[in-house]
Structures are given as structure tokens and as C-alpha cells.
Symmetry: C2
Subunit: 418 residues, 2 copies
């Protein structure tokens, strides 16, 4: 069975000088995978005519589909459309639907209209125009020598609207797509090598159309099983059998048997139990609360947080004793114990998380170097667990590692009871 | 003057199915740019032998440098090293330094050592080994037919350590690199098209070795001026002259004249004035506080936050009146006014930010649809500004847009006084 292959070409100097991180490609790949289309190459190039022409020709030589994002804006550095005309040997014409869309957007926002905005309704004559419901630059679908080419704006929510509403259904119609099933197991507490050792026999017997990937994600490890086949039902059945076997082999270290965030894992536990949580955050500055509330519906179990960066706030909001701060310092087991107790009282929740640490680059001492962090998790029934970590990364990564560790500690505390 | 060109090849199925977002390429591009090396192509491929060989040959045909990340882990899906041996027609040998590094890491962490860990010290015989100070997989430097190839692990902090300590200096020695200067202006309150209109004359007269790019970033717009040349001093002087002209043209809408985050912009203003800030967050769930505290040294001006997701917490922590919540609803001007006043009192800061909104996907009503958000910013001297936004994106983007809007409103309030 031949895979339907896609190359994604992202156009824009900002991707090459590192000013922008490419999130579009990951999103597109997820969507295409779900309908059985395989992204086997992603290429990023600048706003350079020759590079665009070259990339299109190269990718069309090895892929069935060439998806292009970026370079469709109203400014002078956006040269994708004239370059598409050159590639497809055609010329720009005005599209009535795209023009109406531009006029409607400017009218509804009460903005004056410039020629360069009107120009966004010009499209290569040989394309099928895909209207953009979220912006002024339309998408474009081309067919040439058995290949499909799609050009879309690089603004993520505009591209996503065009993909979901039009391109994914059109690709599904155009190709006879194979079935792909992904199953993800999230583990904690065991290194990649040790898990691999435990899975030697399992991996050896995997058929060639099933792959297992190891994906470290902060202090967690994701194991992704992927199965391909012609028939959706049999692929799903085979993947399910193997995934159950994998789960049984790793039951003692499993965090979740689906690809969700640690915030979602925790949310499901709390929702199932009708219980609530709050946080008391020093070094993470609100990140743990943000991750909890990133989950839709989190208001069912999340009440609030005290972000207590300054010591005076630890005292005022959480009742941490000045004497404890004085004697032990803000980054200490004694202080996170008082913080988590204070959070349970302040927020009146079933569980609370407290963290205090030194995230860097400054603020370390010989006794408490950068990366020292104390975590406390506690339940209203009196149970409390504290852990210390010594992290070794930069400020951003230390903060995110701390948030994952803290959420995972609370997960373990909640399950301890059952 | 010929540019030194680089292709970045990232290897790993997780990048192609969209499970991982590629942050390495952006970081590498920033570092190379700073020493005058131009990344003109980035390619992502899977853990597939043929695709790796093909990508290396293709990229070497158009680039001076081929940087490869990923596929060097200890598990079965990591096939980069044998494939490198095939490409360079060599074989694996054990490297003494890499072996000592592996032994040292496992000993210091008290972990038992497996054969697959020891195998990480095997390297292609023809490479120059670059020791990895942050992990077990060494970097590798190859030269072939006038091209430089570098293979590094995909774990970001390991790759960064190898680049900073070894590869960047080695590339600097090997090539006579041109000078590149970037200058970035951040603006708010005017659309891309209108700015472009204002800059028509400026853009027309830019010499060919200077480029201007428009980079929308949430509700802000970044304008990046890039100049190339042989001589660092003259390039910097030319870029500086043009950038001053650009700043003068956009003085009324300038947020910052360097590429920093809105959290950093605000931090500088507060630090300069010796003033402090705190937040009262409902719908952003702590994100604004997290962005403020992501800046090293933010403890100088940030005291804390009340994340008040539940209405009872708005009352308890901030003194919002139950009658106001009852009459106006949590997402209302009256409530954010009481929240911001309560935050100033609770946190005893010079400024406070309060936000309340409906981020979606659920919770909207006909009068207050998803995306409705109220922001209040206030100063301890009594000044207060409230704004309402109607956002139109998904939960994540709505939350981030809200955080940018709120921080920018406070920036304006602080400057209002001067």
C-alpha cells in the first residue's frame, strides 16, 4: 500500500532567522495524519523567488501534495502570489468572492480600505479559490501533472480555518487515503533506556506497519504506537491489542493512556471525584494555574491561586510565618509546607499545590544553587507530600519542569487514596 | 559577497506527525545569524534511512553547512548514526571521551548502566567528536567535498550546549563570515497595511542589502530591519541610521525599539521608575503573572497575583461585591473595576491589572459571546482605564491576546503620566 505523501513548505524570513517558531507545520501534520495522509518532509525557506520555485519543484518530485503557507500578506516582502503565477505559468486575476470578503471585513471593522488590501483579492487565474473566513488573503488550490498544491496564509487561525473547512475535505475526496491509528501512553519515573529494556521483546515482535516512538516531554516520557493499513477497523483493532499489551507492561509507571497534557490528566481525576484544587506559587509565577485553566471546563474544579512572589505576600495571603522565612529562607521545605496549608485554608479546596524555588539565571547561593525547588502537595484530609528537585536548565525550562513535577505529585497524591 | 548558507535538517517522526513543535531550528537560526551565517532552508524528515540520506545529499548540494539534529537517542527508532556511517562511507568506533562522559553521567546519577547507554559512545570513525556536557549523545563534525556537516542530539538544552561551546566557534574559525545586523521595532494600534502605506517612501529607497519585514505578533506588529555587509562597523552604522529614520516615522505607535517581550517592556518601565505591579486574573488564569515573572529580575517590581477563577474568590480575595457580580455578571466593567481596586489594596503595588472574560469554547451567551473580555488597569494614584475586547479565536489564542492587550494597556497608563 502506497502512502499518500505530503511536503509542507513554509515561506517567510522570520522562520529562518529564528524570530518565529513554526507551529503551523505541527498542526497541519496532526490534521493530515488523522485522515491518513503522511507528512514526510517539511521545508522552511525565505521570501526569495528562486528558493520558492526551487522548493516547489523539488517537493513536487517526491510528494503527492505540496502544502505552502505564508507570504500572502499585503506588504512588499510577500512575494508568494507572483511566484505561484510564474510556477504555474499563469497571471493574476481578481476573484469576486475574495473581493467581497475583503470589502466585508474592512466595512465591518470600520477601517479605510487601501489598494494593497484590495490586491489581496487578486489570485492566479488557474487556481481554485478557497475563501478565507478569518482574514483577507484567500487560499489557493492548484493541480499540475498529477500533484496537488495548496497555498494558504501563514497566520495560524486563518490557515486553520481554511484547512478545516475546505482543504481537508477536498483532500479526502481526491485521494483514497489509508487508515492510521496513533495511541499514546504517558509515563513518569523511569528513564527512556530502562523502558526500552523492558520493551525489548514487545518491540521485536511489532509488525513492520506498526511503529513505537519514544518522546521525552519534560520529566514525563510519551510512548507513541502508530499503525497503518488499508482498513480502518482492522488497523484500529490491531493497534488496540498492541496498546493494551504495552499498557500492561508499563502499568506501574503510567500517567495516562492518551496524548493529553498533565493539566488535563489532573482535571479528569478531579472532575471524576467532584473535588477541587488551588495553587500557591512563588517561582512558577502563575504557570501551574495557567496550565490548569488552559483546560476547557476547568472552572468545575479550579477555584483560584495565590501567586506570592514577594515574601510579604506569602505572609499576608497564606499565613506563612515571618520566623520560618527568616530561619529557613523562602526556598525551603518548611515554607512550602506552610504555603500549601495556607492555600487550603485561603482557597477552601480539597487539594492544593505549593512551589518555591530559584529558577535562575541569578539568585543562587552555595547552599541553594539555581534550580533548587521545593514542592508541596496536600489534601484537606491532612495528607501532605513534599519533594525537592535540583534542576539544571535555563529559567524557562526550570519553570516548566517545576510545573510538570508539581502537577504530577498532586496526581499521585489523589490516586494514593483510592 | 557570497552568503555562507546553512540547511538545518531535523530528524524525528514526532516532528512530522505534529506531536512536537520544532523550537530547535529557531534557536539555531538566531545563533547562526548572529555570526553572519544565513539559514536558507530548514527541512524536517522522519526516522527513515532513505529520507535521511536523500536530505543530506540534497541539502549539501545547495548549502555550505548542513546541521542535523535528532535521532541520536538510545532507542530502536534512533537510526541517525548508522545512516551517517553509510553516507560518509565509514564505520562506528568507540570514542574514549564519549565513553567517559556516559560513565560519569550514570555514576553521578546513581543509575545502572545498560548496553544501549554504552552504545551512545560509538561514533562514525571519520568524524570529529564534540563532547556533550549535558547528556550522553555526543555531537559529530564531518567535512566532505568542501561541505561541513554537524550532527547533534535533538534534546534542546543538549543541542544548545554543544552549539554554544563548540560548533559556533568552530564555524566562525572555518568560514570568513559576513556581518549581519537586525533591528526590531515593536508597534501597537495600527494595522500592517496602514503602516506599510506610511512607509512606502522609506521602503522604496532601501538599498538591496537591507530588508524590512512585517511580523504580526498577537495584537502587536514587529518591524524587523536586516542589513548585510562585509564590514561589521559599516553595516551597523547603516542599519542604525535607517532604524532611526524608521523610529521617527512610527514614533506615535512605538512600543519598543528592540525585540523583547511585552513583559520585558513593562519590566523596564517599572524598574526605571522603581515601581511595582500585581495582577488580578480570572480568565487568563495566571498567564499575565507568568509572563511578567518570565523576565529574570522581575522580583524587583512584581509582588504577586490573585488568580480568582471562582466568583467566591473574587469576593474573598479582592473584595468584589456579591451584588455587583449578581447584577452585572463576572465579565463586566463594574467587576474588573472592583477587581483592580481590590488588587491594589491586597498587593499594595503602584499598579495593578485585572481581567475577566469568556475564553471559550463554552460559556458564551447572546449578550456576552465567547471572546468577550474586560480589562482594567489602575494606578495607586487613582488613575484607571478600562477596555473591552471582542476576541474571535480559540481558547488558547484568546487567552494570549488578552494577556498582551492587558500588559500593553498598563504600559500606556504608566507612560500617560510622564
Amino acid at each position: 500500500m502506497d502512502k499518500i505523501t505530503t511536503s509542507i513548505i513554509t515561506i517567510g524570513d522570520e522562520l529562518l532567522i529564528g524570530q518565529t517558531i513554526d507551529t503551523n507545520s505541527a498542526w497541519i501534520a496532526q490534521q493530515l495524519n488523522a485522515i491518513g495522509i503522511w507528512v514526510h518532509r517539511r521545508v522552511a525557506i525565505g521570501d526569495v523567488r528562486e528558493d520558492i520555485l526551487d522548493a516547489m519543484a523539488r517537493e513536487a518530485a517526491v510528494s503527492d501534495i505540496v502544502l505552502i503557507t505564508g507570504g500572502l500578506g499585503p506588504t512588499a516582502d510577500d512575494i508568494t502570489k507572483p511566484t505561484l503565477c510564474e510556477y504555474f505559468n499563469t497571471h493574476l486575476v481578481q476573484d469576486k468572492g475574495a473581493l467581497e470578503n475583503v470589502l466585508h471585513i474592512f466595512e465591518s471593522r470600520g477601517l479605510p480600505l487601501l489598494q494593497r488590501n484590495l490586491d489581496q483579492s487578486m489570485v492566479p487565474a488557474s487556481c481554485t479559490v478557497i475563501q478565507n473566513r478569518r482574514g483577507t488573503a484567500p487560499g489557493m488550490w492548484f493541480e499540475k501533472e498529477g500533484r496537488i498544491y495548496v497555498s494558504m496564509p501563514g497566520v495560524p487561525h486563518e490557515m486553520q480555518g481554511i484547512m478545516e473547512h475546505d482543504i481537508l475535505p477536498m483532500l479526502g475526496d481526491h485521494f483514497k487515503t489509508p487508515a492510521v491509528v496513533h495511541q499514546t501512553l504517558i509515563t513518569s519515573g523511569m528513564g527512556e533506556s530502562f523502558i526500552a529494556e523492558r520493551l525489548v521483546a514487545f518491540e521485536v515482535k511489532l509488525p513492520p506497519h506498526v511503529k513505537l516512538a519514544y518522546l521525552p516531554s519534560y520529566s514525563l516520557l510519551k510512548l507513541r504506537l502508530t499503525a497503518f493499513g488499508l482498513d480502518k477497523v482492522s488497523v484500529a483493532a490491531e493497534a488496540s491489542t498492541l496498546f493494551h499489551e504495552l499498557k500492561a507492561l508499563l502499568a506501574d509507571i503510567t500517567v495516562a493512556d492518551q496524548d493529553i497534557t498533565i493539566g488535563e490528566v489532573l482535571g479528569q481525576l478531579l472532575k471524576d471525584r467532584g473535588q477541587s484544587v488551588g495553587t500557591a506559587e512563588s517561582c512558577t509565577g502563575g504557570l501551574i494555574a495557567h496550565w490548569i485553566t488552559s483546560v476547557p471546563g476547568s472552572s468545575a474544579y479550579f477555584k483560584g491561586s495565590a501567586v506570592v512572589y514577594a515574601n510579604e505576600m506569602k505572609v499576608k495571603l497564606l499565613g506563612v510565618k515571618p520566623a520560618t522565612l527568616q530561619a529557613q529562607g523562602a526556598v525551603s521545605e518548611a515554607v512550602v509546607r506552610e504555603m500549601v496549608t495556607g492555600a487550603l485554608t485561603l482557597l477552601q479546596t480539597d487539594y492544593a499545590i505549593a512551589v518555591s524555588g530559584i529558577m535562575g539565571p541569578d539568585g543562587g547561593t552555595p547552599e541553594k544553587p539555581v534550580g533548587t525547588v521545593w514542592i508541596a502537595v496536600a489534601a484537606a484530609d491532612g495528607r501532605m507530600v513534599t519533594v525537592k528537585h535540583q534542576l539544571r536548565y535555563d529559567r524557562e525550562r526550570n519553570t516548566q519542569m517545576t510545573a510538570v513535577y508539581a502537577l504530577n505529585e498532586l496526581r499521585k497524591l489523589i490516586l494514593q487514596k483510592g
